[in-house]
Symmetry: C2
Subunit: 540 residues, 2 copies
């Protein structure tokens, strides 16, 4: 058996299904580029049947990320489909432009799902799998099949279904622990059983897909790999519905740090992990707790103390990974107000951003403004600035001016001046319970797009209060738009995330809210223009 | 072998060692009360030799939480000590007031630690263990010994050291995977080996203590338990240095949800988990990511959609735990501006807060002020309000007034009025890079306590922007005060967390900063009065 474990990233599909993680097409494309740079083998780019927007996002990723022109490895671009002709048609339409396209289809095989969700008996399930895997294979040589809720399925029936899927043309068989229910022993046993008893499996890749409801996703994934799986389905930061999916960074770093135990390798460039983690957190608005393994702010935080002390000569005493190995180096003082355009460009390049001239101009202008307010501009400051400046959807409403008064002594008041797509200026003042509430009320009075705020998070990017404050918000529209969950087939109201950065947290809050509102207006079709393409210049 | 697994919580010791998690004595006492209510068997209350403050905090917990007067189970109160007479003396002094005191001492047994940190050979290590375990046992019948970095120790040497510790009087043997390095198979094998080969172990409790550097802490802990360990060392929310310790909630819920697999039980009242999680997050300022297992905001978030849809008749289709089982029920609309004192008291009681009359008055006043600004007061609002109103250190400087102007058009300006301990009023105005920076600069100009801001997080407590905003900050003093890490013996600059809640995030930010500053002033001895005792009225 080969020692290469494929990393199948589903941040853009299962990850994006987590509440409020909705991304714009431009953001999805940028995440896909980052995943390609990270070296993932397969990018599950979305669920094309969910909506025309979703299909279009997958299609762009297939074309632009699935066909690298710089000689780098082309990732497989995968689209999810339920076992219906319509879903498979849409998935194929979306991924066919990639050099290596894949269709991933699934059907539940546990008694509880067949009875309560599918209302199908075993024979019907087998027939459907044969029919739809064959149909997918008629388009595409690379077909993945998942027996949903495999963790709670009857093993004998599972072997039968998987054997039929193989005969019908499936090349990868993915075994999901859909509800995050199994223990490593059970899950490893399940994979062993499948490899031992499924006819024809020796010519296929066995894949594992775990959820973290009991905190066991990484251990289950590793147990599956040790039992012979050679593809792991993961997401960056472990995002996903409920407690999320298996975290890419944990599986990859466990395999690498404990190579003598596992004797396996992946194609991941681990030094890109921290950057990918930060990007996904910014775009989805899903924060990372400080004590998150590998990518949390404290994961390597004992460093300083130990070096300061100097008593511990051997850094392996309390350290099993080097921060550099995941790209978490902290170069502090980088640039200041006297740094020029060239120094900024060089620093951005070393961070992986190769901007076109015009973009560099934009960023440089923001950089100078920031440097006037803040003595030291650090890497995280630059990354926040780039996110804020370049990766925003084109704005239907832009912020033209904001003035706020608040405190303990009066009525918090905000005056907002917005410019709409036609260039018309709108001004509104409102009183609120606080400065942000007042500003949001003033914006609502202008934009008139009913929504409710689901989440609001502010954090400082770096140390020192003069750091850029980053705000992420998540709003739920009241426009009747829904997103469809492929597995539960439940429609939930669509939510939109927004991101803003500024040294003034009220300004950052307003930018974040406008960014979410603009995304919502695009989705509602109020704004017919297509959002700006993600910047081209990023090295990929 | 018994089927009862002891839960040993080290939130107040190993958890509090995570960067910035410093708590006041009053907060530690309240966490200890919450842990007792949660039903943990052992509370590791601190490392008494670290400082007189730490000793005093452990002593109060031993006296007040270690001697329940209401007939509830008395938890064991444990103090950590290095293998020195001074440390053991201090630990005993701290815990002796508890009905069930325990001394926990440790010494490293891995080659890398013995060589680089201890600079001792094997024989010296064995002699030290025998001497110090005996010394601890001369005070206390309940002695725990940990061979630090057991995960990387030579098994044969480990069996020898543990056997000698047992002969010297140790009653619990705790096996730490100090650097979070092992896999479940390895760690389970380590525990099996220890149980099989250590003379006298059959009369002791074997304990496991795992770290999450590779995301495997929960799986390793469960593997250790399956191999025969009957004590699990954990922290609430999995806080701790680097990627943290094993999360209490994950181990407990895995054992409960998969009881047929494990056939084991704990004494934990799982319905208290969400409350304990929230309390620890507030006091330490360590946020919980939405996709955190069991206690993350999204852990049960598919609920709404599925019920809405109504298609899935059987809630087990995508759910392996009920939110009620961990106390995560979301009763939304609770109270409004017309709710009276009695309704507030009743609601607080149902949340577990049994306030004395005077405290209820304080809270009611705040409640009415909040109800004027916010239509619906929810349970999380009430909990934020209680934290803000009752669990603050006594203030050296209190906020008497704040006025802020900011926005895109001018210079962010804050005017601050503070009252000091003698009642003297100080007023200062400052310009900053944003409203929070301006306000903090104004406070600094008055308080004159040099520090640097390490972290700044704002989040909305509930949905809707008129929710209370919660701010947590973490400052590092420049006063030369350090805290001592028991294991690495590294001294790091002390950091202080602060918490504030208000509908105005600038006001909340100022409150949080003042709360951190007041903690720092107390620690520096600037303020000689003792902080307020935590409120007495909380049901315990």
């Amino acid at each position: 058996m080969t020692d290469y474990v494929r990393i199948f990233d589903t941040t853009l599909r299962d990850g994006e299904q987590s509440p409020g993680a909705t991304m714009t097409s431009a953001e999805k494309l940028e995440v896909a580029r980052t995943l390609a740079r990270l070296g993932v083998d397969v990018i599950e780019a979305g669920f094309p049947a969910a909506s025309p927007d979703d299909l279009e996002a997958v299609r762009r990723i297939a074309q632009e990320v699935g066909n690298p022109t710089d000689g780098s490895k082309a990732p497989v671009i995968c689209g999810l489909a339920r076992t219906t002709r319509n879903d498979i048609d849409k998935a194929w339409e979306a991924v066919r432009g990639a050099r290596f396209p894949r269709i991933h289809t699934f059907l539940a095989t546990s008694e509880i799902h067949m009875k309560h969700k599918l209302k199908m008996d075993r024979e019907q399930v087998v027939d459907r799998v044969i029919e739809m895997v064959s149909y997918a294979r008629s388009f595409c040589d690379d077909v993945e099949f998942s027996p949903e809720d495999a963790g709670r399925s009857d093993p004998a029936f599972l072997y039968l279904v998987l054997g039929e899927a193989i005969k019908a043309g499936a090349t990868t068989l993915n075994i999901p622990d859909t509800v995050g229910y199994t223990t490593p022993e059970e899950f490893g046993g399940l994979i062993s059983g499948i490899i031992q008893h499924t006819p024809g499996i020796e010519n296929c890749i066995v894949s594992v897909h775990c959820h973290n409801d009991l905190g066991l996703a990484t251990a289950n994934t590793l147990a599956g790999i040790q039992a012979g799986a050679r593809q792991a389905e993961v997401t960056v930061n472990g995002i996903g519905e409920r407690a999320g999916n298996t975290a890419l960074e944990e599986v990859v770093m466990a395999l690498q740090t404990r190579r003598p135990v596992f004797n396996l390798q992946t194609g991941i460039d681990t030094t890109q992990i921290t950057r990918a983690s930060k990007l996904v957190s910014n775009y989805t608005g899903i924060t990372i707790q400080p004590n998150k393994a590998i990518v949390g702010a404290n994961a390597f935080a004992h460093e300083a103390g130990i070096h300061q002390d100097g008593m511990l000569k051997n850094n392996q005493t309390y350290e099993i990974m080097r921060p550099e190995s995941v790209g978490a180096t902290q170069s502090k003082l980088v640039l200041g107000k006297h740094s020029g355009r060239h120094a900024l460009k060089a620093r951005l390049q070393s961070l992986g951003y190769a901007l076109a001239d015009q973009e560099l101009d934009q960023v440089f202008e923001r950089f100078k403004a920031l440097a006037d307010r803040k003595k030291m501009i650090t890497d995280p400051d630059l990354e926040a600035l780039i996110s804020d400046e370049l990766y925003q959807p084109r704005e239907f409403f832009t912020l033209d001016g904001l003035q706020v008064t608040c405190g303990t002594m009066g009525m918090p008041t905000a005056s907002v001046r917005l410019r709409d797509a036609e260039g018309v200026i709108h001004i509104q003042a409102c009183v609120g319970t606080g400065p942000v509430d007042a500003a949001y009320k003033a914006i609502d009075a202008i934009v008139k797009a009913p929504n409710s705020l689901r989440e609001f998070v502010v954090h400082a990017v770096t140390e020192g209060i003069d750091a850029l404050g980053e705000v992420t918000v998540r709003i739920e529209s009241k426009d009747g738009l829904h997103s469809l969950d492929a597995q539960s087939e439940v429609e939930t109201p669509r939510t939109y995330g927004g991101y803003g950065a500024d040294t003034d947290i009220v300004v950052a809050s307003v930018k974040a809210y406008l960014s979410a509102l603009n995304k919502m207006l695009v989705a509602m079709g109020v704004y017919t223009g297509i959002e700006t393409p993600a910047i081209q210049g990023v090295a990929s």
